[in-house]
Amino acid sequence: MADSHEVLPQGRRGIGRQIVLPLSKAFEIAWKGIKIRIWRSLITMSGIILAIAFLTSVWTSGVFTRALRNVKPTDEMYPLVQDALEAEAIAGGGVRVRCAVLARAEEGPSAERATPAVGIRGFLDALEAFRAESIAPSAEAIVGSLSGQEGPAATILVGLPEAVSAPDVGRGLEDYVKLGGLLLLYGTGGLQTPTSAGQDLLAGLLPGTLAGGTFSTEGSRIEPGERLGQVLWQNHPGATFARTSGKPGAEPLATADGQALGWRQDVGEGSVVWYAVAPDSEADPNVLSWFLRGGTVEAAVEPGGRGGLLIRLLTQGAGATGQQGDMRGVWLVTLSLMVCVVGITNAMLMSVTERFREIGTMKCLGALDKFVVKLFLIESSLQGVVGSLLGAAIGFLLSFVRALFTFHITDVQTGEGHWLALGYFPALGLLGWGAVAVGTGIVLSVVAAIYPAIRAARMEPVQAMRVEA
């Protein structure tokens, strides 16, 4: 007691400099504050939780989409296709097997709806054609593989006009042709009377539309000896094919005048499958672009030298629409982050205002400005950590549920469902984006608290004297 009563000489002697407390002390006090004011903190946190949940769901659903879209149809679908082939074998050669595998993506926004695989083997009757069409309403091609008595016979390749998309689910193939879609019917070498076979087929599939097309076996042959080589019927006369070179692993096909058409690919021993379509470029240049923009055409299954097709079709692809989607996503994310920052700043400012007396008192008790800043920044970053973790968990759950239903595949024959999101869970990618989202949340909440913290620190200690609340 005695030393504090010493009379000090004029000047600064006797006055010390206040020590700067270690961060742990500020942490201790901030943590206590959060625990006691838990509801207040939760309200502040809810902004962070919502923003990070949104962010996480946007990012991780992208991870799901990318991962699951790249699932090779063969991984999941081959067994189904093979089952179908076995079924054919039991039935005996020449007996038609219908719609061996119809797989579909059932839900999700139409823009992202993917049809991982549509494999059709056997003749299509009108009902089946309709079914195939309804399965992949927004797909850019529907492929049927036809099997004649003498073996694999023909493939139907339908190009759909751009105007035809998800809202046109009720349409049949006929409508697509009327809309300007390109329809090609390819015959394989084994087919003796391609024209009549094609005619029969199309008469079943597209009653009343045959007048528009041309049946031909001339001028459309790609190469002798190839199984799928003849254009049996086309509604765009004059489409011709020629080879060009360039694409590794898959040979590009082009029209005689060098216009790219598509690709052919050799898959395994004895199986040659190609998908190419050539519109009359003058007549309908757009048709080509539908195909070039469309999904990738993948492997073929041909055990025993028979033609089964597995076509991978994707509606969301490269090009302008994809970039627009990206831009929209970036804008949404940016906007939500801005809203989050403003929300946190506002909440922190409110808590500064609410605590003017407490801050004033602390400063009367000897708290430095620095300490008050630390207190608020720690409080905010703690809220950021907890809020971001909660938000990331919620966002992940949302996108997981979404992916689960988007990438659900049903085998039409057996009715068996396949949850691709479970089988191909992209754990690493999700974890990465989760970490990025949590990091963003923490950084945001600290940044948002800087201004309120400085305002709190500048508060005069005399504020503690104010009587009104």
């Binding site: 007691m1 504090s4 009563h5 010493e6 009379v7 000090l8 000489p9 004029q10 000047g11 600064r12 002697r13 006797g14 006055i15 010390g16 400099r17 206040q18 020590i19 407390l21 002390k25 006090i29 206590k32 504050g33 625990k35 006691i36 004011r37 007396r357 407490e358 004033g360 008192t361 602390m362 400063k363 009367c364 008790l365 000897g366 708290a367 430095l368 400005d369 300490f371 005069e460 200690p461 005399v462 503690a464 004297m465 009587v467």
Partner: protein, 270 residues
């Protein structure tokens, strides 16, 4: 020692707070308000001082100057012979932490902290270890009679108890001065008396200088000197011995009593 000198203000006493022609001008829009018009006072170590005056008299401004919470427009405030205006932020924080203990009308305990944590907070700011602070804090709580309620949060304590904790907190770093702003303003009569008594005990027992700004005439009988402020000037300084003992008898109506004495007091001086 402190007890012996407390009532005397004669030559040879140690001056703990000194103001020299302190003036304060506020700007309220285009109007200049002269809150203080030149006040010179000296407060001795160990004194119990009450600053009295009606609202708007400059009482609070003077009080804040003495507590290093506000800076004068002109003139100087010396605390332990150090010109407060010369101190930087670190030195001011040090001064507030160790030299001055603050007591508020609204108690101002940190709501998230227990009684003990409130008392030890200034010690934490002063750099004491947690163990040292806890022992010292418990001692102080014992002195104010709240040792067994150390773990209670402010909202679990009555107003009087909160103010006791606040007194313990003000004493945390053994300050030279305790500044009490209307310490009984939010308390009922009996509790207010207890708090005044407790402040008196601290004053006599620890020798700490107590400076209060108050309306409460109960405070008058506890004070060694009363500084009357009126209209930004020093109206008069009274010693307890010179007080009209009548004032004490109307404490049932505290506000009225003060008003009465204010009306009377400077008049008597003239």
């Amino acid at each position: 020692m402190a007890e012996a000198t407390a009532v005397e203000t004669g030559v040879g006493q140690q001056v703990v707070v000194r103001t020299k022609d302190v003036k304060k001008v506020y700007r309220m829009g285009k109007v200049e308000v002269h809150a203080l018009k030149g006040i010179t006072v000296e407060i001795q170590t160990g004194e119990y001082i009450s600053i009295m005056g009606p609202s708007g008299s400059g009482k609070t401004t003077l009080f804040n100057m003495i507590g290093a919470l506000d800076k004068p427009s002109s003139g100087q405030v010396y605390i332990d012979e150090v010109d407060v205006a010369q101190l930087d932020a670190y030195e001011l924080a040090w001064l507030r932490c160790r030299k001055i203990g603050y007591i508020f009308q609204t108690f101002n305990l940190i709501p998230v902290m227990s009684a003990l944590e409130n008392v030890t907070l200034p010690m934490t700011f002063a750099g004491l270890t947690t163990d040292e602070a806890r022992d010292k804090g418990m001692d102080l709580l014992d002195q104010v009679g709240l040792a067994e309620r150390y773990d209670h949060k402010p909202f679990e304590l009555s107003g009087g108890q909160q103010q006791r904790v606040a007194i313990a907190r003000a004493m945390a770093n053994s300050p030279s001065i305790i500044l009490a702003d209307e310490p009984t303003g939010n308390l009922d009569l009996a509790t207010g008396k207890e708090i005044i008594q407790l402040l008196g005990e601290m004053n006599r027992g620890q020798g700490v200088t107590i400076i209060t700004a108050t309306h409460d005439i109960k405070m008058l009988s506890a004070s060694d000197r009363i500084i009357w402020v009126r209209d930004g000037t020093l109206a008069k300084i009274e010693r307890r011995e010179d007080l009209d003992i009548q004032v004490g008898s109307v404490e049932g109506d505290a506000e009225g009593g003060v008003e009465a004495s204010l009306r009377g007091a400077p008049g008597e001086e003239e």
